[in-house]
């Protein structure tokens, strides 16, 4: 944890390229479809039917996207395998103490 190194330049470049290639078209596509939905809602009865569940989904997903960002920026994914070992150690300590008391 303490001796974390700066990722190599190649990793940074590949991540940036993938981000541009994947994220920008996705965001454009999403924005386009969302704009279509708004037009549909204004123009046709069918669109109004859709607005409630779509808004529900978007709000829920937005909330979890914020949570994902918060988790990433607060180190929740650093040393990602550590919690599984820590959990068992905690359990072992609790059970050992209980077993010792019974003896």
């Amino acid at each position: 944890m303490n001796d974390r190194k700066t990722p190599p330049r190649a990793t940074f470049v590949i991540t940036a390229i993938l981000a541009v290639v994947i994220l920008i078209p996705s965001m454009l596509g999403f924005a386009n479809k969302f704009y279509e939905l708004i037009l549909l809602c204004r123009g046709e009865v069918d669109g109004a039917f859709a607005i409630t569940p779509v808004v529900n989904y978007l709000l829920a997903s937005l909330g979890f996207f914020c949570l994902l960002c918060w988790a990433a920026f607060n180190g929740m994914f650093h040393d990602i395998e550590a919690p599984k070992r820590k959990m068992l150690e905690t359990e072992w300590q609790l059970d050992s103490e209980t077993a010792a008391q019974k003896r």
């Binding site: 549909l40 069918d46 669109g47 109004a48 039917f49 859709a50 607005i51 409630t52 569940p53 779509v54 529900n56 989904y57 829920a60 997903s61 909330g63 979890f64 996207f65 949570l67 994902l68 180190g75 929740m76 994914f77 650093h78 040393d79 990602i80 395998e81 550590a82 919690p83 599984k84 070992r85 820590k86 959990m87 068992l88 150690e89 905690t90 359990e91 072992w92 300590q93 609790l94 059970d95 050992s96 103490e97 209980t98 077993a99 008391q101 019974k102 003896r103």
Partner: protein, 467 residues
């Protein structure tokens, strides 16, 4: 998991075992009532209703009591009991307030009993899986808020990366509160017609995917490593499963209303997200089978593990079935048939009830402080339940296909009823097997509770420290 600076608390300071016992007792009581309602409906279908003509025993009403008692009586109470064990041990902190826990317990039983009473006397709300009478909804909503506050308090004090179980639990507390509000208030007071139908579809499936699924998987990620005495295969993969569920699940409920006036782009969106969830489920199942790899004999000797992994196999099957049945072609055949009923039983009993019953099989000796009265009766409970649900689900799924083909061939309605009778008879006997399993379990608990033999310390599942 927790601050190293805090003093190490003891189990008895963290877990209120009496409350866990109460929740399990309430859960099993409601499972008993629910199964009685299911049997009544099954008998009605084979024209042997023992209470014909008595309004409050009408199978139509008891069908709703059957589903609501399972969802809010058995599963909710079972999960709350498990949470009172798991959350304090994972966080090394007790829940916010034990008096609040007792208040929630009493209030929740009142909500479920009032729901059953309201349904029996004909006050059902016109919402599938949300038939709770409208006057109970605000009380239930407050109850869910208190549950979230009580359990999120210890979790919020954690520092450092969270174990995946706590991610699932956190999400479940938020999702359940929001899902209940969306399903019970939005269609009732704010939107109508097709839009209300779409929200109803989201509610039905979100109850499964955002209430019982995160709690169920969260508990599996907690209990399976403890019982196998080794960590989960990949914690990173488990987080992929969690975030996949968070982003793909919330839209898929609309697949309950394919071929309705809901706009087609929304129906297709639900189909695609349902198929995407199958990929997420595959990562979770791979993770659990990766964990048990090399310890396969545990399924034979360790009963809770057998309950858990049987439920996981059923879970994969039911999700795979879901990915197929939401396609428009498949849906045209099985819509409104008993296929859907078989699918629902496979999910609610074959998966989540089996997990809770497995946890009870593990925890009851620890809670009561005695070994099981009879290991053989535990085996009978498992096999009657597992074979019963396998036969019932298979029977109804097959029967649903026959019904669908009958309707597709434009045969008279009576013909589809006639073709269904053999399947409905088999369903009665499969239900009797599952009910018998429950009675065996209740008898075993009673005899264990009355017994005097103390639980041997060595038989407690004290896991070795993780390597």
């Amino acid at each position: 998991m927790s601050d190293d600076s805090t003093a190490k608390p003891r189990h008895e300071d963290l877990v209120d075992q009496r409350l866990v016992c109460w929740y399990f007792a309430a859960a099993l009581t409601f499972l008993f009532i629910s199964m009685l309602g299911g049997m009544l409906m099954a008998l009605q279908l084979v024209r042997h209703n023992p209470f014909a003509g008595i309004e409050i025993f009408s199978p139509g009403r008891w069908r709703m009591i059957h589903t609501n008692a399972v969802a809010y009586g058995f599963l909710a109470n079972g999960f709350l009991g498990c949470l009172h064990w798991a959350v304090p041990r994972l966080t090394l902190r007790p829940v916010l307030d034990r008096r609040l826990s007792v208040l929630i317990f009493i209030a929740w039983q009142a909500v479920v009993l009032a729901t059953a009473g309201g349904l029996a006397f004909g006050q059902a709300q016109a919402l599938e899986w949300g038939e709770t009478p409208t006057w109970i909804d605000p009380v239930a909503q407050v109850g869910l808020l208190l549950v979230a506050i009580n359990f999120m308090a210890p979790i919020s004090k954690m520092s450092g990366p969270l174990y995946v179980t706590l991610w699932y639990f956190l999400a479940a507390f938020i999702w359940t509160f929001l899902t209940y509000a969306m399903g019970n208030f939005v269609p009732e007071y704010f939107v109508a017609g097709t839009s209300a139908g779409a929200v109803g579809g989201l509610f039905i499936h979100d109850l499964v995917g955002l209430f019982v699924t995160p709690l169920g998987w969260g508990l599996m990620y907690y209990f399976v490593p403890i019982l196998l005495k080794k960590p989960i295969w990949s914690h990173g993969l488990s987080l992929v499963g969690f975030w996949g569920l968070a982003f793909f699940y919330p839209l898929q409920g609309i697949h309950h209303f394919l071929y309705t006036p809901i706009p087609m782009f929304l129906q297709y969106g639900a189909v695609i997200s349902t198929i995407a969830v199958e990929l997420v489920v595959t990562t979770v199942v791979i993770n659990f089978f990766g964990t048990i790899w090399g310890s396969g004999s545990a399924v034979k000797h360790n009963l809770p593990i057998r309950w858990f992994y049987t439920g996981m196999v059923f879970y994969f099957l039911t999700c795979f079935q879901c990915a197929l049945q939401v396609t428009m072609t498949f849906q045209a055949l099985i819509h409104f048939t008993d296929w859907v009923v078989g699918h629902a039983h496979l999910v609610m009993f074959g998966v989540f009830s089996m997990w809770i019953l497995g946890i009870m099989t593990y925890l009851f000796p620890l809670l009561i402080g005695r070994d099981w009265y009879s290991r053989k009766l535990c085996e009978w409970h498992f096999w009657l339940s597992a074979v019963g649900i396998f036969v019932m689900a298979g029977d109804l799924i097959l029967g649903g296909l026959f019904q669908g083909w009958s309707w597709a061939a434009l045969q008279p309605w009576d013909a589809s009823v006639e073709v269904s009778f053999p399947f409905w008879f088999v369903r009665v006997f499969a239900g009797l097997a599952m009910f018998g399993g429950l009675l065996v379990f209740l008898y075993n608990i009673w005899m264990t509770w009355r017994g005097e033999e103390e639980l041997a310390v060595d038989s407690a599942t004290v896991p070795a420290p993780a390597s």
